[in-house]
Subunit: 230 residues, 2 copies
DNA sequence: ACGATTATGTGAATACTTCATGACACCGGC
DNA sequence: GCCGGTGTCATGAAGTATTCACATAATCGT
C-alpha cells in the first residue's frame, strides 16, 4: 500500500524536483499545475496528502485549500503549503485556513520529507512505514511482519492490515463501517459481519501469546485495541 | 561490473587529481569541463554517479544538476556537489534539491572516496562492489560469484542481480513492480509474473544448501529475503 | 426476573486470488 | 543449428475472503 501525494505547483523545475524526491522515497506522485486541474484530479482519485503551492496561476493555493476543506469527501486530506518567503508565512491568516503545515522555500529534501512524515503520522499513522509497538506486540510494515512477545505471527493480508490499523489507532473504538473504509477501501461492497470473521482470525493468531485480549469488542459500537483489559 | 563516475570540473589541476584518485580505486572515470559537454556526455553513456563542481564556466553546477533531475533517463543518477567553501555549502543546500551530498574544497581523497561509497550505498547499495554476506550466503560482485555455505552457486545473470539486490536490502518486502524496477530497469516491459519464475530459479539454485528458505513469499505483497524463518 | 430482541462468536462451505511449477517458445551468440 | 539464458503461458495447488447458518451472549422492556 503505497502512499499517494498530489503536488500542486506551477513552476516546472520545482515540480520536477518534488516529483523526483518523493518518488525516490516510495511515494506515488500526481502533479497538477493549477488549482482547477488539482481539484478535478482530486475528485477522481483521492491522494493521502496534498503539497500545495501558495502562489498559483488563477486560483490561489489558499483558495484551493479552502475548497478542499469545504468538500465533504476531501476535507480530511492533509495539506502542506509551500510558501515562497518566510514573510508570507505570517501573512497567512494561520493554520485555520486548513493547511496542516507550511514549508518555506527554499527547503531541503530532508525537511520536506520529515514534514510529510510528521503530518502523515498525525493524520494517518497507518500510512507511515514506521514500526509500531504496543503491549508486547510489534509490527513492522517494511518487512511486513508482526510479532507477539518476540514470536512471529502468522497473519493473512487482511488480518495484517487490521492489526496495523488498530496498533496505529489504539484505545479507540471503530465501527465495522469505519474499519471497512480504513482496511478495505471506501468503495468496497462487503458485508459488515465479515469483519467479525477477520477479528476472530486475528484473535486466533494472537491467542497463543495471550494478546487476543487486546482486541476488544464494544457492543453496539465496534472493536477496539486497548492495553487496558476489561 | 565496474562503477563509472563522471567528473564535471573546469580546473585542470583538480580534474587530474580526481581522475587519478578515482581510477586508482577502480572506478571508470569520465571527464567534462563544463555543463554543456557534461550533459551531452551523459546522454551517451550513463554513469553511476556524477561529481559536479558548483562553479563552472557557463552553466552553473546547480543548473546542470537541475537538468539532470529533469531528464527522465538521468534523474536517478546520484550527484555529489563540489563546493569551494563551507559557507557556500549552506547556500547550495537550501537552494538545490538535487544533490545527494556535498563536499567542500579542499578535501582529502579519503573523504571523497568515503562519500562516494556512502552515496552509492544509500542510493543503490547493489551498485557497490563490496562483498555482501547474510546467513551463510556470500556474494562478491567483483568476481561475480555467489556462495552458499562456501559452495559456489550456479546462477544466471538475472538470478545474480536478484540475489544481489535482496542481499543488499534484507528484511524488507518488495513488490514485483519494485523488483522489476530495481533488477531489470524502469523502462523494461516485462510481465510481473515473470518474477515468480526467476524466484523459483533462484530458490532452485539455493536449494541444495537449504538457503532457499531465505527467499520468502509474502502473499499479496511480494518477496523478501530474511534470516528469520517463518 | 423473564422472555424477547438484538448483537456478536464460531465453524464450515464456497468462491476467489495469488502463487508455484513445468513446459515451451524466443533470441542472440557461437 | 545448438545452447544458455530469458520471458510467457497454462495448470494445478495453496492460501484467503466472504458469506451463511446457527450458537451464544448481552440488553431491554415489562
Amino acid at each position: 500500500m503505497s502512499t499517494a501525494i498530489l503536488v500542486v505547483e506551477d513552476e516546472p523545475g520545482i515540480q520536477e524536483v518534488l516529483k523526483f524526491n518523493l518518488a525516490q522515497h516510495g511515494y506515488e506522485v500526481g502533479v497538477a499545475s493549477d488549482g482547477e486541474s488539482a481539484l478535478s484530479l482530486l475528485r477522481g482519485a483521492m491522494p493521502d496528502l496534498v503539497l500545495l503551492d501558495w502562489m498559483l496561476p488563477g486560483m490561489s493555493g489558499i483558495e484551493v485549500a479552502r475548497r478542499i476543506r469545504n468538500d465533504a469527501r476531501l476535507k480530511a486530506i492533509p495539506i502542506i503549503m509551500l510558501t515562497a518567503r518566510a514573510e508570507e508565512r505570517d501573512k497567512v491568516q494561520g493554520l485555520d485556513l486548513g493547511a496542516d503545515d507550511y514549508i518555506t522555500k527554499p527547503f531541503s529534501p530532508h525537511e520536506l520529507l520529515a514534514r510529510i512524515k510528521a503530518v502523515l503520522r498525525r493524520r494517518a499513522p497507518e500510512l507511515t512505514d514506521d514500526p509500531v509497538e504496543a503491549a508486547g506486540l510489534r509490527l513492522d510494515p517494511v518487512s511486513h511482519r508482526a510479532f507477539a512477545s518476540g514470536k512471529a505471527l502468522d497473519l493473512g493480508p487482511t488480518e495484517f492490515r487490521l492489526l496495523h490499523f488498530f496498533m496505529t489507532h489504539p484505545e479507540r473504538v471503530y465501527s465495522r463501517a469505519q474499519l471497512l473504509d480504513q482496511c478495505w477501501g471506501d468503495h468496497v461492497f462487503v458485508e459488515e459481519r465479515t469483519i467479525d470473521v477477520h477479528i476472530r482470525r486475528l484473535r486466533g493468531a494472537l491467542e497463543t501469546s495471550g494478546h487476543d485480549r487486546l482486541i476488544q469488542t464494544v457492543r453496539g459500537a465496534g472493536y477496539r485495541l486497548s492495553t487496558t483489559l476489561n
